[in-house]
């Protein structure tokens, strides 16, 4: 058996698992591991400027590929700085492994320098965690961590490594566990046959069906199967913020995103449906609005790999535990051949109704007052990237504008912090995307608030030549906070404005990148063209937009799904 140090085992295990990139930052407790990294070429390390960004980079990497993202940080502050990133991944079920250094075993509990109980700190926001106690256990712990992170409902896993066990001066036998099995962990992938039959019966009896697709369809790589089901039933499809792209947004059966800032036709269709097929979605409060008024006419078929998600918020009539891809295959098989003509006829009235809602054109907005509208920036971005870019987003109004005005035709192209709503996520996530797809166009839609939460990563972009395109919708304010203050607090803008905005163009230039400022609508198109022409450079587009634009449609609090404001003055 090969003999090596604990530190070498960490790196070797990563290599044997097939990890290509590690995002991290060195420090005392992990110096041995960093030394082991130095001696090899199989695993590339990306040095960030703040550990939170390392976690978001690993996250963006994972979201855009489906592969587990890897983070390596030191003990104490290094570890705690990743907490927001871990929580972000946890809320959105993103596979991630965080290797954190720890003080030597004999000093744990002594409040040693840079000591934090990382397993304890991260406990509520991880799928699982390990505190490794012996060097020989390192390969198995790390292999288990990757297995847990990317099977079942994916999620982040922390592996805490005390400094004494990775010590380079002691060697131990290395054995890579070829097969990881855990008696206490066996996720259910296939749906129960009886439930599948019941689901199909309910679907085929329905005259007003709708598919409600969430992030689970993306993690299960089930796009084609979901599309097949939708087409077979000729049913409308709506998507959660996390599910965008799982079903093509340019497909004629797509009625748009649903929920708080969903499209009118999507929320109307949900509210009036007689059967909802939920595929990997979790009835989040940003979808349902008032649960007591939620979809009163619908039989709900809830497909989810996590039994705990089913009937947590809204009771399911037909619960199906399983992964979206496996269950979709079972549903298709059970449906068998469906007479397309008869099925079309069955839902014809339903489509007529939906098309009426569509004709309201809820996404229309007013232009022409000399100010750049955020919506037109996203439309321009769509045009200049042929709708085929990876779009990472920060959190706020710009996020909703991007979700609504950039139709995603493919899964894994829309990268955003949906569950936790983490400002500062966008730039590092786009960097992770770019590391995973060096040839692709990786863009960030952000705002002047969010971008400043991880702006230090512009330096990392320089170091690794990441030609990211930053589309910053600059409204000199925290737009979404301001919108709520306009609506609920009589326009009292308590601390939602920033009156010491940096010169973003100069800032980008200071980091060695290109900065472009756009202030007039007529300059937008040309500036955007210039931005995407600079293929191998990072471009920071500082776009001065209308400060008073609100995101609409918007659900009315305590109402049903389809109780919505359609503009500052109109409501349903």
């Amino acid at each position: 058996m090969e003999m090596m140090s604990g530190a070498a085992m960490v790196v070797r295990t990563l290599k044997d698992i097939g990890v290509k990139h590690v995002f991290g930052y060195p420090g005392g407790a992990v110096l041995d591991i960093y030394d082991a990294l130095y001696a090899q070429q199989d695993v590339e390390h990306v040095l960030v400027r703040h550990e939170q960004a390392a976690a978001h980079m690993a996250d963006g990497y994972a979201r855009s590929t489906g592969q587990t993202g890897t983070v390596l940080v030191t003990s104490g502050p290094g570890a705690t700085n990743t907490i927001t990133g871990i929580a972000t991944a946890f809320m959105d079920s993103i596979p991630m492994v965080v290797l954190s250094g720890q003080v030597p075993s004999m000093h744990i509990g002594e409040d040693a320098f840079q000591e934090t109980d990382m397993v304890g700190c991260s406990r509520p926001i991880v799928k699982h965690s390990f505190l490794v106690k012996r060097a020989v256990d390192i390969p198995e712990a790390i292999a288990k961590a990757y297995y847990i992170a990317n099977t079942g409902r994916p999620g982040p896993v922390v592996v805490d490594l005390p400094k004494d066990i990775v010590n380079v001066s002691e060697e131990h036998p290395y054995q890579f566990p070829e097969d990881v099995t855990m008696r206490s962990y066996n996720p259910t992938l296939k749906g129960h046959n009886k439930q599948i039959k019941k689901a199909v019966k309910t679907l085929l009896e329905s005259k007003r069906p709708i598919l409600y697709v969430g992030g689970g369809a993306i993690s299960a790589e089930a796009s084609d199967l979901v599309t097949e089901i939708a087409e077979k039933l000729n049913a409308p499809v709506t998507s959660t913020l996390m599910g965008l792209g799982a079903f093509s947004s340019v497909h004629e059966q797509f009625v748009g995103m649903l929920g708080m800032h969903g499209r009118l036709e999507a929320n109307k269709a949900m509210h009036n449906a007689d059967c909802i097929l939920a595929l990997g979605a979790r009835f989040d409060d940003r979808v349902t609005n008032n649960v007591d008024k939620f979809c009163p006419h619908a039989n709900i078929i809830h497909v989810d790999i996590d039994p705990a998600s089913i009937s947590k918020i809204v009771g399911a009539h037909v619960p199906v535990v399983g992964s979206v891809d496996e269950v979709a295959k079972q549903l298709l098989k059970e449906m068998g051949k469906i007479d397309a003509k008869a099925q079309h006829a069955k839902v014809a009235d339903w489509w007529e109704q939906i098309n009426q809602w569509r004709s309201r054109k809820c996404l229309e907005y007013k232009k022409g007052d000399g100010l750049i509208k955020p919506q037109e920036v996203i439309e321009s971005l769509y045009k200049h990237t042929n709708g085929d870019a990876y779009v990472s987003s920060d959190v706020g109004q710009h996020q909703m504008f991007a979700a609504l005005y950039y139709p995603f035709a493919k899964p894994r192209r829309w990268i955003n912090s949906g569950g936790l709503g983490t400002m500062g996520f966008g730039l590092p996530a786009a960097m992770g995307v770019q590391m995973a797809h060096p040839e692709a166009v990786s863009t960030v839609v952000t705002g002047d608030g969010s971008i400043q939460m991880n702006i230090q990563e512009l330096a990392t972009c320089m170091q690794y030549n990441l030609p990211i395109k930053i589309i910053s919708l600059n409204n000199r304010a925290l737009g979404m906070v301001r919108q709520w203050q306009d609506m609920i607090y009589k326009g009292r803008h308590s601390h939602s404005y920033m009156d010491s905005m940096p010169d973003f163009v100069k800032l980008a230039e200071a980091y060695g990148h290109i900065g472009i400022r756009v202030t007039k609508p007529e300059e937008l198109d040309e500036a955007m063209a210039k931005c995407f022409a600079a293929k191998d450079r990072l471009v920071f587009m500082d776009i001065e937009i209308d400060q008073n634009e609100h995101v609409y449609p918007m659900q009315i609090k305590f109402g049903a799904m389809d109780d919505m404001r359609l503009s500052k003055t109109e409501r349903t």
Binding site: R123, P124, H128, L131, S184, D306, P307, A308, S311
Partner: protein, 165 residues
């Protein structure tokens, strides 16, 4: 409604804190909790008594089951079961009269005196939580309870049903 949840989990460091975490994180309440390794030392069995409606119990069961270390979860109160709790209680016995009354109660409740001191008895009693409450109440009528310690409920399903890996 009062429920008894039985959990079979890996006897690994951190397992217990994860279970307790689920309860505090999701706002579930714990009336009592009892945990120890099973006949198979690699496993621990944990019994939680909680009061909640059916929907919350379903969530508790699912969220606990979701933990990686957990092998099996069952709601004992779903069917016939045996439940027991043990209490050690120290009472003041400063007069002959009190000693006699305490001894009578011990006999009636089929408890045992496990330690005797000049001025107090330590008594062990097992049974359902209700019985333990009743015993403590009876003692308190005739003397002063100095201190008491209860294990929390543990239980098993009756008949063939078993919680095994």
């Amino acid at each position: 409604m009062r429920r008894i949840i039985s959990v079979l989990m890996e006897n690994a460091p951190g397992s217990l804190s994860r279970i307790v975490g689920v309860f505090s994180q999701r706002g579930f309440n714990v009336d009592s909790l009892c945990v120890a390794p099973t006949d198979d030392k690699s496993l621990s069995r944990l019994t939680i008594v909680t009061v909640a409606d059916d929907k919350v119990i379903e969530q508790i069961t699912k969220q606990v089951n979701k933990l990686i270390d957990v092998l099996k979860v069952s709601d004992l109160s779903d069917g016939h079961h045996v439940e027991r709790e043990l209490m050690l209680v120290k009472v003041a016995t400063r007069s002959e009269l009190v000693r006699a009354e305490v001894k009578r109660n011990v006999d009636i409740f089929r408890a045992q005196i496990v330690d005797v001191d000049a001025n107090n008895y330590t008594i062990q009693v097992t049974g359902t939580s209700d019985k333990l409450d009743a015993f403590a109440h009876a003692l308190s009528q005739s003397t002063e309870i100095i201190e008491a310690s209860r294990t929390g409920v543990c239980g098993l399903a009756r008949g063939e049903k078993a919680l095994r890996p």
